[in-house]
């Protein structure tokens, strides 16, 4: 199996260089682009069912189609956009470069993980065209609605949904194994754990959270698959009271809550990187952020039942889970104060990646703070399953998945393709996305306070909701413009890939290790040299330094054995 390592670590030829490449950078881009395509699909689905909400009597979608579009929007956005882009894309691309490694610990496993993910996205897309349509029981697929074909008329859609989900978890598990082993073992000389850049810390905590939380849902998914295909009674209730639908909710949300932190935390890591690089100032309270993120990760395992306060949970249990849910606001409060203090006193360069990071930070504050409404269980009696919940998780998801990711893309685009993205287009895109996102999502809070239950295909049936139809018009209009705005980004992304202005090694003059490598880096990242780390990750504007940043390490020529 000996082979010569050429430009892309493959046996030459297009297929093994780009398609089945074992180079973490190529795999990272494959994840990123698949995720972005799925994001576009998710966005278009959202626009379609939002127009049904705004003009219900136009019958844009039948009630069944509306439910399955809502479900597929949720499923695609969480599992086929957030996970691949934030964990697969940035994890694969940035971790080896930032810790000075040549590649992931197991390149073959890494390539396998992408292609399992690719297979899972094929399966989930096929489930649209299967007789009975895609699954229409909410992205949480509560039993018995989801596991019994009689209730929604969806038979094959649900089984394919479960298979695709388990495949996606398998691919992310393979990725997680790779990330944890790489971060632990393949760090450059002198790079202690406390000198790791924040994005690497966040990716590791996210991988560990995913590792420990996905088990019960794979188990639950297996049981649901048995329920669905063979007809066992795990989650379906029989006459004598066998089967327990609440057990599915427990298994789902035991995984669900760590999962939303798995998706949130890398976004915050990217925001931290961009804020420090553009603010020319060290990340304030590095240790505090690391420990509070770990604390939030640990706490995220004991909060899951706040999704089930009014779902037949033993009321005594709800008291405990409400307290832990309110407690989890403390670590994230420390995190946002630390970001704020990082901004204070810096000399901030307003680049488009900074605008996205700032937008993401502000949206994260609103998202985090509105979680208190839902954590307090007495308020949750009224607010559960209303548009308040929808607005809350759109704010928390949006801050990391869309704003954080696009900030990361603008920030690392020069490193990925060796060319810079157009800044003016970027700024227009940033301001537009921020404004129209808030126009779309903020009114939903008031819709929720008015008591508008979620997943309604038309609200005109109820008098106490009919008078708020204008909010639906506003939100739908803003959503349409928001999705349309993304065309600027797509145009900018693909145009600058070939005709963008040439970028040198360190366009943003940042300190972390990846800016020592070529842009785009060669296979093995450092060629015939290997980085040695001397100082911390964010040594910006140190007094008495002529330059306003100190690179984290330097390259020492060493002979790499082939």
């Amino acid at each position: 199996m000996e082979h010569t390592i050429d430009e892309h670590g493959s046996h030459g030829g297009f297929v093994s260089r780009y398609v089945f490449s074992q180079d973490h950078k190529v795999i990272g881009l494959q994840y990123l682009i698949t995720g972005l395509i799925m994001a576009l699909l998710g966005g278009i689905i959202a626009v379609i069912f939002r127009s049904q909400l705004a003009w219900p009597n136009r019958e844009v979608l039948s009630p069944e189609a509306y439910n399955s579009f809502v479900t597929m929007h949720g499923t695609l956005m969480v599992f086929w956009v957030a996970m691949p882009v934030l964990i697969g894309g940035f994890g694969n691309f940035c971790i080896p470069l930032m810790i000075g490694a040549r590649d992931m610990a197991f390149p073959t496993l890494n390539m396998l993980s992408y292609w399992t993910f690719f297979l899972s996205s094929i399966v989930i897309l096929v489930s649209f065209f299967v007789p009975g349509g895609a699954v229409s029981a909410g992205w949480t697929a509560y039993a018995p609605l989801s596991v019994d074909a009689r209730f929604t008329g969806v038979n094959w859609g649900m089984s394919l949904w479960l298979v695709a989900l388990i495949l996606e978890f398998a691919s992310m598990l393979m990725g997680g194994v790779n990330y944890i082993t790489t971060i632990f073992n393949l760090r450059a000389k002198g790079l202690t754990l406390m000198r790791l850049p924040m994005l690497v810390w966040m990716e590791m905590i996210a991988a560990v959270l995913f590792m420990f939380s996905v088990g019960p849902l794979i188990a639950g998914g297996g049981l649901a698959l048995l329920d669905k295909s063979i007809g066992t009674h795990f989650f379906r209730v029989t006459a004598e009271g066998q089967g327990d639908p609440v057990l599915w909710q427990h298994l789902f949300w035991f995984f669900g809550h760590p999962e939303v932190y798995v998706v949130l935390i890398p976004g915050l890591g990217i925001i931290a990187e961009v804020i420090t690089a553009c603010g020319r100032k060290a990340l304030h309270g590095y240790k505090a952020i690391v420990y509070s993120t770990i604390a939030a990760g640990v706490l995220s395992f004991v909060v899951w039942a706040h999704h089930m306060f009014v779902a037949g949970l033993n009321p005594l249990l709800a008291v405990g889970f409400s307290i832990t849910t309110i407690l989890i606001s403390i670590p994230f409060f420390i995190l946002s104060v630390a970001f704020g203090l990082t901004l204070w006193g810096g000399s901030i360069r307003i680049t488009s990646s900074f605008l996205f990071a700032l937008g993401g930070y502000l949206i994260f504050i609103i998202g985090g703070v509105t979680g208190l409404f839902l954590g307090a269980q007495t308020a949750d009696i009224y607010l559960h399953d209303t548009y308040f919940v929808v607005a809350h998780f759109h704010y928390t998801f949006f801050s990391s998945i869309i704003m954080g990711t696009i900030a990361g893309i603008y920030h690392w685009f020069p490193k990925m393709f060796g060319r810079k993205m157009n800044e003016t287009l970027g700024k227009v895109h940033a301001v537009g996305t921020f404004i129209f996102y808030n126009l779309f999502a903020f009114p939903l809070f008031f819709l929720g306070l008015a008591g508008h239950p979620r997943r309604y295909s038309s609200a005109l049936e109820y008098d106490f909701l009919a008078k708020y139809q204008w909010i639906h018009h506003l939100a739908t209009g803003a959503a349409i413009i928001l999705v349309a705005l993304q065309i600027i980004f797509i145009y900018n992304f693909f145009k600058s890939m070939f005709t963008g202005e040439k970028a040198e090694k360190n366009p943003w003059r940042a300190t972390t290790l990846e800016w020592l490598a070529e842009s785009p880096p060669v296979h093995g990242n450092w060629g015939n040299a290997s980085p040695v780390v001397e100082n911390g990750p964010y040594e910006y504007s140190v007094e008495g330094d002529s330059d306003d940043f100190r690179p984290q390490g330097k390259l020492i020529p060493t002979h790499v054995k082939h």
Binding site: F212, G241, D244, L247, H250, F301, L313, N314, L317
Partner: protein, 95 residues
């Protein structure tokens, strides 16, 4: 690359203890009728066997803290899941 200082515990002895424990658990299964006592004894027996296998056969005794935490944390999460779900199922028990 492999540190050869790692000494090997007496595997055959460990194996023998495990077989004895298995036989004990089979006897417990047969002769103890009080349901709660039986289940706890069986669980303790299984836990001892699992710890024996993990420490000696899987060399957890010689591993660093990182790996040990990789085992201990999921076990605590398993216990957490059980006790998180317990009050919910207890309320619907049809004894």
């Amino acid at each position: 690359m492999e540190d050869h200082t790692e000494h090997h515990p007496n595997y055959v002895l460990i194996w023998f203890i495990l077989v004895i424990l298995t036989i004990i658990s089979i006897l417990i299964g047969k002769y103890i009728d009080n349901h709660v006592l039986k289940v706890t004894l069986l669980f303790v027996n299984a836990a001892i066997k699992a710890v024996l296998v993990a420490l000696n056969f899987m060399h957890l005794k010689f591993e660093k803290v990182v790996v040990i935490s990789l085992v201990v944390v999921p076990l605590t999460l398993f216990i957490l899941l059980i006790f998180g779900l317990m009050p919910d199922t207890l309320s619907t028990i049809k004894w």
